[in-house]
Homo-oligomer: 286 residues x 3
């Protein structure tokens, strides 16, 4: 299983050698920020792509690199948050999906798979300080963590059915790992965005905090709850527990990739997406 995952990762790199070479540390540091608290040993990974932390190829690659480095650098835990005061993440950068260059689209979706696998299977404790709207992949990023603290007044959810997208298996899994099946189906079909209060009520988030500082603090407390556990046993237990969830993606990365790309390239989806993007732009002008 782990072998296949490495292969999947290599695939992404091999396909975009030029891109990888030019992603120097300097470039990388613009889209995310990493701070490690020397005292607590906790790393904070901050999404930092204005205006709304939408995930393009470069952000996904950088997130994946950072998650892997934080995991290897013996950090005691990882907190995911945003530098934006209103938006945790708006989801995928839809420009990557609209009339896409096929090579870049392939690299983009591969990077999405890899990043999700890295976060979902991260050996160390993970928590999300959701200090703004967490939409679509923004919600998926949060759900992939082991704990979620959210600020009031924001929305979280997967609204794919609203712009004609059918979520792939790994995104269904994100919801299923947190919510009861009955609610997952309904939320996915309705494209429901939960308010902070609703999210707390159904346990889509674990706590509500009044400020980003308090949210970070509660995340750190969660990470501290593992203080008396042996890290290697914790990591392996997490890996084994989540193994059935990632099996499809690990066993058949090419099939999952092809299915996603086929769907994205469908004329009907492209038309719907085009209209959705034009409406967004029209709204922005007014």
């Amino acid at each position: 299983m782990l072998r296949s995952q490495t292969k999947l990762l290599d695939l992404g790199r091999r396909q975009l050698p030029g891109l990888w070479r030019c992603l120097t540390k300097a470039n990388i540091s613009k889209l995310t920020m990493v701070e490690v608290d020397d005292k607590s040993g906790i790393a904070t990974l901050t999404l930092n792509r204005p205006p709304v932390n939408s995930c393009n190829l470069e952000l996904l690659l950088e997130l994946n690199e950072n998650i892997k480095q934080i995991e290897c650098n013996k950090s005691r835990g990882l907190i995911l948050t945003s530098s934006n005061e209103k938006v945790f993440s708006s989801g995928l950068d839809l420009n990557e999906l609209y009339k896409p260059d096929q090579a870049r689209l392939r690299a983009f979706w591969t990077a999405l798979h890899e990043m999700w696998l890295s976060l979902y299977q991260c050996r160390i404790p993970t928590a999300a300080a959701i200090n703004g709207h967490a939409i679509a992949v923004g919600c998926v990023l949060s759900a992939a963590c082991e704990y979620r603290v959210m600020l009031p007044g924001f929305s979280i959810g997967i609204h794919a059915t609203k712009f004609g997208y059918v979520v792939p298996h790994f995104i269904m899994i994100s919801y299923l790992s947190v919510l009861p099946r009955r609610l997952v189906e309904r939320a996915l079909l309705q494209g429901k965005l939960f308010s902070t209060e609703e999210a707390l009520q159904v346990n889509l988030v674990d706590e509500v905090a009044d400020s980003k500082a308090e949210a970070l603090c509660k995340c750190a407390e969660f990470i501290d709850s593992f203080k008396q556990t042996q890290p290697a046993a914790r990591a392996l237990t997490k890996r084994q527990f989540r193994a059935p969830d990632v099996q499809v993606l690990i066993d058949d990365p090419e099939g999952q990739l092809r299915e996603a790309l086929d769907y994205i390239n469908k004329p009907s989806f492209q038309e719907g997406l085009g209209e959705y993007l034009r409406n967004l732009k029209a709204k922005d002008k007014h």
Copy 2:
């Protein structure tokens, strides 16, 4: 997957050509009623087989036909309800199971499979206005819908263990798609019938309404919650989400059928059922 389902459907028709020919529209309309609200585009499918809407072969065939037609006729949603003020459905017509003609039993159980698959995988939003007792397959019909509104003072549940029946996989799935696993096992083993209040508490039903009209209204509101979603994406998401649940029945319809028929034909089951039916008749006389 869809191919196999069509095959399963054909099987049922091929086996009973005579029966199918004589099921003219006029005959059919007696056991169920379909009304489509032109304004809302919502179709209401009403169970109408006195005295207690027990499902015999003809009702199952008609339900299946109606569900498929409502799905194809571009209705915006389907509401399942009963013309009877006391009973939504009492479940299967046990006369179909007792000392059965084998050809008819085979057609009956095939029709049950097909009808359940049609309802469970229906492309449009589905809701049940449970305006009376929903027992056994009556509960299964409700659980196969996406939403349930129930009137107070009634019972809902699967009481198979009480008359010696072991529920097949697809009936377990009905419960598991709605209730937490812990409760499903206990309810199945106890043959538990939930009161309306109990059903609401465990989320076996989503809402309680004081009248049938109010129940239909709440079901329509649920269907309206999909107004801003794209129907094709919604339908495909539902299909994919529910795919693992129907896999056994799709992959091995003959095996599932044989298992059910073998069980029904067991002398011990037939004896128990005979006694159960005699007790029912004795009760009716007093």
Copy 3:
């Protein structure tokens, strides 16, 4: 499937013929006690291995034998409890795992598998009267029953990550059959011990009782809830419902055994366990 289970059982016996021969009824009765209430037909199986009902090979073999005999003797139900007023069970006897004799370790783990399968798939209703701490396999024993009543002031949970152990699949299943997935993962990773109140809140236990007598009474009431069901249908429904949970252990007992033994024999695990045991002994002295 049932064939394989029988094979697994035979395997355990064949490997330790000497041991089996010397486990005469007299010896057996020391580690557990069985009382059958002639009026109710309910058998009470009491763990009775001082000081803390830790499960060694002999206790596991005896538990398994007793569960099977109670099941065959047409008892109406089985209640599991402890003769110790403070401890239901402290879990596995860690001395069986530390610097083990390989033949005995193999027999020990095989006995654990068999005992769990016997309890988890027991044909008759099962309930645990948890009258003390239920730690690790103590919790697994409780979770394998269909109902749990716990006395206040005690702890229940699986704390394996705290001494470096990675729980095998069947132990994850124990939790998953009772708790929602989200809580299972967190509890396993934290090695969480729930207080009685916490356990009640998440439904890890079903009721709280003020005394052992009351707990036994509530367990008997649960068993009575099956009075109107047909025992054979109940047993087969339970077996079928739990079948997917035991599939790994039934299909590949040797693989599951090897995986467990490999882990236990790892130098890193042995070192950690040694330290854990030394700390326990040091605590006992003070």
